[in-house]
Symmetry: C2
Subunit: 246 residues, 2 copies
């Protein structure tokens, strides 16, 4: 099971309301109620909270809400010139819009991978993709992409990690890495989580360094092996476009 950090529901809901404005810059309260599927009174209270802190404002004439100055103020404190999560977002969205499956971006951190960016499918049944989620490099398509393309003895470290899962064959893992280097993509089907499958490719910088793993994932009912292989050229193309940015 994907690592599930303890979060605070009320705070999450407030943030979800902010995210409503990505799709439409001005919203009536009714629209936010529909988008979030929360009760009117909950939305009303959360909007009041957001307004009090300057994160949304309400237009006096139209009475619609829009994002407030605080967002702009905070944005001025971001160093975004080199953040892949920011640079790659448009291309990820384009890919998601083209295929309508969840697109994620993982980077390596020690012996783990971290999801640093995600755009979710808009279908009712979708792969949910919490940012900041961490997973060991022993399982999953993107783990193998990361290990396959990382220079140095990362593979040795992963294989000798005391946390290596007991049900996974090290020799098979090594063989899969070799296949990935040949075919340039990795596939996983229910390898880590029942009912889900994923296909992953590497994003390289112009200098040839591995930047991140790009992953397309969804329910296995929609993404069988054949379908995922058909998606690979599009994934590779998107990865190349992203690589040009860094």
């Amino acid at each position: 099971m994907e690592e599930k950090k303890t979060t605070t529901r009320a705070a999450e809901r407030a943030l979800d309301i902010l995210l409503c404005f990505v799709g439409k810059p001005e919203l009536a309260m009714r629209e936010i109620v529909e988008k979030t599927e929360l009760s009117k009174s909950t939305v009303f209270r959360l909007l009041a909270t957001l307004e009090t802190k300057g994160f949304v404002k309400r237009d006096a004439d139209t009475e619609k809400y829009s994002l407030g100055f605080r967002i702009w103020e905070l944005a001025n404190h971001i160093n975004r010139s080199d953040d892949p999560a920011i640079l790659f977002l448009p291309e990820m969205e384009r890919l998601r819009d083209e295929i309508d499956e969840t697109v994620s971006l993982y980077v390596r951190d020690g012996l783990e991978r971290v999801r640093i960016q995600a755009v979710e499918s808009q279908q009712a049944i979708r792969r949910v993709a919490p940012i900041g989620a961490r997973l060991p490099l022993s399982v999953g398509a993107s783990s193998k992409v990361i290990v396959a393309y990382t220079e140095g003895d990362l593979l040795g470290k992963v294989l000798s990690d005391p946390m290596w899962p007991s049900g996974i064959d090290r020799d098979l893992y090594i063989k899969q890495l070799q296949e990935i280097r040949t075919q340039e993509y990795a596939i996983s089907m229910e390898e880590r989580e029942a009912g889900t499958s994923a296909v992953s490719v590497a994003i390289h910088s112009r200098a040839g360094n591995l930047i991140a793993a790009l992953v397309l994932s969804g329910p296995i009912s929609r993404m069988n092996e054949e379908q995922m292989i058909q998606y690979v050229p599009r994934l590779v193309k998107a990865a190349e476009e992203m690589g040009k940015l860094v």
Copy 2:
């Protein structure tokens, strides 16, 4: 008593954590705990919430937190070219830093004034200033500035408003407006809230229209009448600088 909207504490706390990054773009968890004065575990959970939604990220090496790509994404959906709350913020901050009292910006909405922007004093005892707060135009320094400089029969409407407070003399109000037009500032001392005082001037656009009322407010122990009058030239100068922007 200033209108107090029902807010959601947990959501407020999450937003307050975001605001910590205005002062410093990279923060350890300990620093956020100190700034917010919340318990470690609460901060930890709220940071996890913010990270899951992409509003903060954690650097793998330094393990410090900073703002995430979502802020940038949302900022791209703001129309900020003409928002006084955004345009005037730097000058308000400069004034606050110079005097270390709370600076607020009010605009008129019907027979009310609305606080659309505020930067608070950093002293332990300060005027708190929730954005979005609404007050009738019958009381307070900025109300009188707004009424004094609004063309048309706003004064007539305010005086005949059924909600006019029973303890306030209409003739005195009219007289005060005339003084304000002469001296170009308004002062209030415990007029609306015990222990607080305020001095206000008008911000006019280059075309001469009233844009907003600029207010400096704080505890009456620090801001007596004499002190407020001494602040007026600085307030007027700041208002002129702001007026040049619109």
